[in-house]
């Protein structure tokens, strides 16, 4: 157990290193902070001064190692653009993203899994065909386009939901949350749906194939032979078994949502970290991008870990061996 955790930690340490190098080099070739920040009436002297203040006049290696030494001391650097320490910059935007991500995943599960089980149980029905058709349509529409159509329909035509922004939030333990606030929820709904549609389709498919496989397992036949009422058969025997793969995948999906819902957050100008990442990439704000991606790597490591634990919780075969 411990050895396992240590090994994981070691590997993720290496991951973080490689990631930071990649991003450093990446951002270096992509853009020049001075060129982006300096306005046109800057004299060359101004530009050189700016470069030295940002510390980008030093050779890349030097920049990288000073970054490393700061990082181990927990200092991820200062944003070129906002001239603020990077970590708070990211952290203050985190709740917004987390809220939407969880809402989206929630919707995905609550809608997708039942649909999936239903279509898994009644493979031949018309309704099943329709469901699979819809799921296919659902994830064949590019995300950004979907977003605009949503805005068009719900905000412009029906005028029932706000098109953008985060709306009012309620403070909870010093964290701004939209969840406990009607206006906040309304603002959250469209982005969440935009993200959820794909998840719904995926969960449906997962649950469907899962159901189809489990239904043919010996223990399902035997449970029927025992004379267990069908509802219980599905609730206990089926659900418990298909949840195992679903949880695993959902974990990673959640990670993806948290890390890279850039498009959605941009289109709905949702003040989350995804938008921050995109803006920072475009504004050559290397410190933010580096710190961001390092955090993301760590997050995925944690998520993988949690998923493994959940897996064990759901599957006694792994728990007790």
């Amino acid at each position: 157990m411990l050895s396992f955790v240590l090994r994981r930690l070691g590997q993720s340490g290496v991951l973080v290193l490689i990631m930071s190098i990649l991003v450093f080099v990446g951002m270096y070739v992509v853009s020049d902070p001075v060129a982006v920040l300096a306005s046109d009436d800057f004299t060359e002297e101004d530009r050189i001064a700016l470069a030295s203040e940002l510390g980008v006049d030093r050779p890349l290696m030097v920049q990288y190692f000073s970054f490393l030494s700061n990082m181990v001391r927990g200092d991820f650097g200062t944003s070129f653009v906002y001239n603020k320490p990077v970590l708070p910059l990211i952290v203050e935007r985190l709740p917004a993203t987390l809220e939407v991500a969880f809402l989206a995943i929630g919707i995905g599960l609550c809608v997708g899994v039942p649909l999936g089980i239903y279509s898994g149980l009644n493979r031949k029905r018309k309704s099943t065909k329709t469901i699979s058709f819809l799921t296919t349509v659902g994830y064949s529409i590019p995300n950004f386009w979907q977003a605009l159509l949503l805005i068009l329909v719900f905000a412009v035509w029906l005028k029932v939901l706000p098109a953008s922004g985060r709306g009012d939030t309620t403070m909870l333990f010093g964290i701004e949350l939209s969840f406990f606030n009607v206006d906040g929820l309304r603002h959250m709904l469209l982005p969440a749906i935009n993200l959820a549609i794909y998840k719904i389709c995926m969960q449906t498919r997962l649950a469907r194939s899962g159901t189809q496989e489990v239904m043919f397992q010996d223990y399902m036949t035997f449970a029927r032979a025992k004379g267990i009422p069908r509802p219980r058969l599905i609730r206990r025997h089926l659900l418990r078994n298909i949840m195992i793969p679903i949880v695993t995948i959902t974990g990673l999906e959640l990670g993806g949502l948290i890390a890279f819902s850039t498009v959605t957050e941009t289109v709905f100008s949702w003040p989350g970290i995804g938008k921050l990442l995109l803006d920072s990439i475009h504004h050559a704000d290397r410190p933010v991008v580096v710190a961001y991606l390092i955090l993301i790597v760590m997050m995925f490591v944690v998520i993988n870990f949690v998923v493994d634990v959940l897996y064990a919780l759901l599957d006694p075969r792994i728990r007790y061996t």
């Binding site: 157990m1 010996d218 223990y219 029927r224 025992k226 195992i244 006694p316």
Partner: protein
Amino acid sequence: MNNLITVNDLTIAYPMSDGEIFRALNNISVEVNRGQIVGVVGESGAGKSTIGKTALGLLDENAIIEGGSVSLEGEKISNLSEAGFAPIRGKRIGYIYQNPMTALNPVLTIGEQLLETIEAHTDKRGNAAKAYAIELLEQAEVPEAEDRLSKYPHQLSGGLCQRIVFAIAICARPDLIIADEPTTALDVTVQKAVLDTLKKLAKQDNIAIILITHDMGVVAEMCDYVYVLRYGGMVEHGPTEQVLAHPSKDYSRELMAAIPRIDKKVDRFAVPGGMGKSADRDRALAFLLRREDRNVIVDDKPLLTARNLSKTFVTPATVVSAEKVFKAVDDVSFDVSHGETLGIVGESGSGKSTVGRMVLGLHQPDEGYELTYRAQDLSSLKSRAERLALSKSMQCIFQDPYSSLNPRMSAGENITHAIKAHGTVGRTEAHELAGDLMELVGLPRGNVRKMPHAFSGGERQRIGIARALSFRPDFLFCDEPTSALDVTVQAELLNLMKDLQSTLGLTMLFVSHDLAVVRQMCDRVLVMKAGQVVESGDCDKVLVDPDHPYTQGLLQAMPRFSFDMG
């Protein structure tokens, strides 16, 4: 008179994906009276499980009842709906599933699975239900019944799981229990005890049993009356003793003759099969006997000596479990001399296969071992060439015919791929050879191009043998070569192997859980238990009056049918 259950001219058909109709059952009639234990025997494909499934409405959705019916106490049930079966399943007809390990839901506790059944069929709830559950388990002779409730299936042995399945089956005190191969998945010692329990349970509540099995021994010990099926058709039926002792049909006779006997060694089974007879076969033999490209040492030294073989398996730690260490083989030593067959018997998990795999180099033994083959120290083998020469000379016949062939290669390619790769033979020659070898092992050479899935288990095993032979080995490791096969097929195969051994002078290491088979095949035998050798010596000694209690136990447990037939 009014039978408990009557199966009447039942015909069940499956439309197959290739458009043909496959009849799992063809005009089958079976009658069972209260308290009677009826055996339904037959080899795979006989459709025996289908009978049970029909009685419980568990047929796959695309199965068609073309004719006949099943009726329970006179009322027809074969045409009931899913809902219609509700009052029957578990309540009037209990079901015992082939493999207890897969029959129980892996993610639910024993208690949950037992209680849900109780709540479904009785009005007992809460503590009453729990008490009843424990009572049932105790009746099924599950030790420490109470704390088993909180356990999960995989934490218990196969035998225990099967007993739990019994408990579930008798929960509603049904009139009939359908036991579908209840002991196939179990070790012989366990099998006996489990069967006794089943018998006891049946007696105490006067429950009738339909015992579906392929094992004549089991039938002999359990059943009063027996039906013999083949390919979905009825061969014959009658009181057990009569059918087993004086079978009236050829197939039944063959069946009986095919059963390996522990009590006496026959040099061939009285069944067709063995090496094919033809020009092809002789060509194949010629090829196999062409040995000039091999250095044969003929001296009195044993061909293979193994000293202090041990194997420890380490499963790395995971999130929830620490690193686990399991000693599969513990300090095993033996010799195998030219042309002899050494058997290794033992129950599952005794490490018998691991020994062979170490000899072949598929497992790396723990430090401090010594393996000499043809006076060569195997541990010292470095160069690829040496390894190659060795791997050609030592081959293996694997346990599971369904996974031992490459599914994406034709039979012929499977046989000759490797020797082509090594350049032993050319393309055209290889194709010829493949055909010859198939004839040799008794398959029509016309099937050379067929893919493995088109063959039955026995046929695949023959292909496996042909592949092993293609290397012109001196030494064959046979890893439970027939455990997955029906008795008749097994008999044919064993005949073939005997023939090949005598013609080619092969040396064999023969691993099996079936003492009878070992008795038939081997000269000497090692008896293994939990990784260690408990007893070894000549078969005629060890398998007739063993010294070690464990071996004695094994022999005791062997279901033997005592009716002697001419």
